[in-house]
Amino acid sequence: MTKRIIGIISMIGVALALIVPGTSSANSELMKLMDNPDNWAIWGGDYAGTRYSKLNQINSKNVGDLQVAWTFSTGVLRGHEGGPLVVGDTLYIHTPFPNKVFAISLNDQTILWRYEPKQNPDTIPVMCCDTVYRGLAYADGKIFLQQADTHLVALNAKTGKVIWRIKNGDPKKGETNTNAPVVIKDKVLTGISGGEFGVRGFLAAYYIKDGSLAWKAYSVGPDDEMLIDPRKTTHLGKPVGRNSSTNTWKGDQWKIGGGTTWGWYTYDPQLNLVYYGTGNPSTWNPVVRPGDNRWSMTIFARDLDTGKAKWVYQMTPHDEWDYDGINEMILADIKIKGKNRKVLVHFDRNGFGYTLDRVTGELLVAEKYDPAVNWATHIDMKTGRPQVVAKYSTHQTGVDTNTKNVCPAALGSKDQQPAAFSPRTGLFYVPTNHVCMDYEPFEVEYVAGQPFVGATLSMFPAGRVTGDGTTNLGNFIAWDAAKGKIVWSLPEMFSVWSGVLATAGDVVFYGTLEGYLKAVDAKTGKELYKFKTPSGIIGNVNTWKHKGKQYIGILSGIGGWAGIGMAAGLTGDTDGLGAVGAYRGLDKYTQLGGVLTVFALPD
């Protein structure tokens, strides 16, 4: 009898597997596309988010000959983050709000189709820090568009026609989206923005075939809503225990607890784990939310099929500075102390570069990747906790007290702009900020859908704190994640706010806020090429090959938080800026406007 039941169940299982052909085929199609470096089929080039290309036609010897091959204006003025996807003969490019999508033929650069969603402009003011959008996802003949107003849309990749459209959140409650979705197996993953509005963060997985919800996992709250198993989910090797999140909040503050998920998502197919980070706890004012505020500011490793959390690691317990933990988790296999390790490398807003064992969540390395970082002396490798310096603790100094010269500033030693990893050099290439701040919490009332910040901050060049006489606001660095050491560092006048590309040609590409696309030698950092694009760059550099020729593409269009933290005065500064004078220069270099510039070597 029992055998018969098992037999029937097995048959049902087989039948189900046959009924859902999309499950494996979508994944294997995308895996094949990613394996062929002629495509750039996902935001990071691969599931590991390495932003590394095996293409080497453009290399350190000839990159100096690079020329502009063609350009494309998006017709949108806001900050342009993310970069183009390339699948076969077609390039797909997105814009900030209103989130247009263009499919462009690589054969003749004609527009094959365009899609412009109708979105309520009331969404715009709910979006923190400009109306940016970080890009599309491709799989199964569909383009996935994550609109600002939280609608997730599947478009026919050949025609641009809507296949399905679902709502992922509610802008009236402050929920919006800026992230690029990611497709893994039969699911499309997306998160939520709105940490400044008291939004409770989550990661959601929808089935690519019809947009129905597969699972949804909150960052904070009761165990079952976070898909945390108190006995199996671990923090630094130990089970987290019951109510691991709610125990660390006062009352029901977790309900407006933040921990939003607006960064990038990576995936290890062997482990079947998805990796991402959560943002700041709401409010910014730490005094009114005692406790560690788990699991805000946390790296999550979740099983793709079930959403269950395998392990977590909280980087900044009880955040006092707005150091969101959402930056990308790069997956690489590197040698640490002579041993091959499967690691996750993460450059956090808090200024520490973390290397963890991505199988177990064990903390291996945690070191400052900007020497100016001063809010904590170090990370205790046993407890994983930062050792906070009292005079930079905005909680200890208290409400209505100005905590001065905290490094890094709220925008972090690095924001979302993704780094790259080259397996050829074993180095990570990281776009960084070199900015400090004065931070002053004050009490605010929470109203749904309204910003919920409760702190003032003033930002200035880190050189004012370090006293080394420098005024640069950024550095482009090469990082050894096994040792936790900077290998080389190139000062940049402004924050480096572009996603990086590393290639098998031993060239590393990045963009600057003035608008330069730069190519440097992967080993030495020596500048090999630069070109001034039409606007400041906060987009990601991507590469592909078409008809035997390698191309480099970069989206320019100044804006985003870079456009506010750094670009004060773009509209005409009539005032002296005193000590913050270093910020004012950007309007001498660039103006608004979204343009994709594509480079290639001459014929």
Partner: protein, 189 residues
Amino acid sequence: MGIRIDYRAREHGFARMILIAIACLQFACAAENTQDQASANAARSVPKSVGNEKVAVVTQAGSQSKESTSSTSMLYSVECGQVNDAGEQFCYVDRDTYIGWRTFHGFCSRCHAQDALGSTFAPNLLDRMREFDFSGFVGRTANGFTGQVGVMPPWKDNPNVSKRYQELFAYLKARSDGALPPGRPKKKP
């Protein structure tokens, strides 16, 4: 109806201070060029209060002249030390202006940037504030506005802002009038 200004050089602790404030009646006052008057360094008395309006004193010292422009019922008081070698200038302000600075940098600076200098997606308010009297400012702030490229949200439902229109107006007028330089002002003891 005009602005009455008191120009006096004062010593305030270690630094020579500039005390600036503007006294206005309920409706927009005509702009007065105070530069010549500053050089005259002549003291004049100022009314203490006009109805419900607060009144303050403008005192200007040394060669740094500040121009007061048309204003409405808004009033502020700013006392600034000299610019130091680092290019910084420390200023003391009245409670309203201080709360206005704090509110602005807690809620508005996300778009309008530190010191109200504007960003890539929201205007510099130093220029824009010259277009508004208090009621116009409250209307715009409470109800929001759709601009050429950006959208200003309505703030009337957010008590953190809607209770602070007067303070915000004080801060932004002080900035717009050139009375208050960039940076964090200090609350007068």
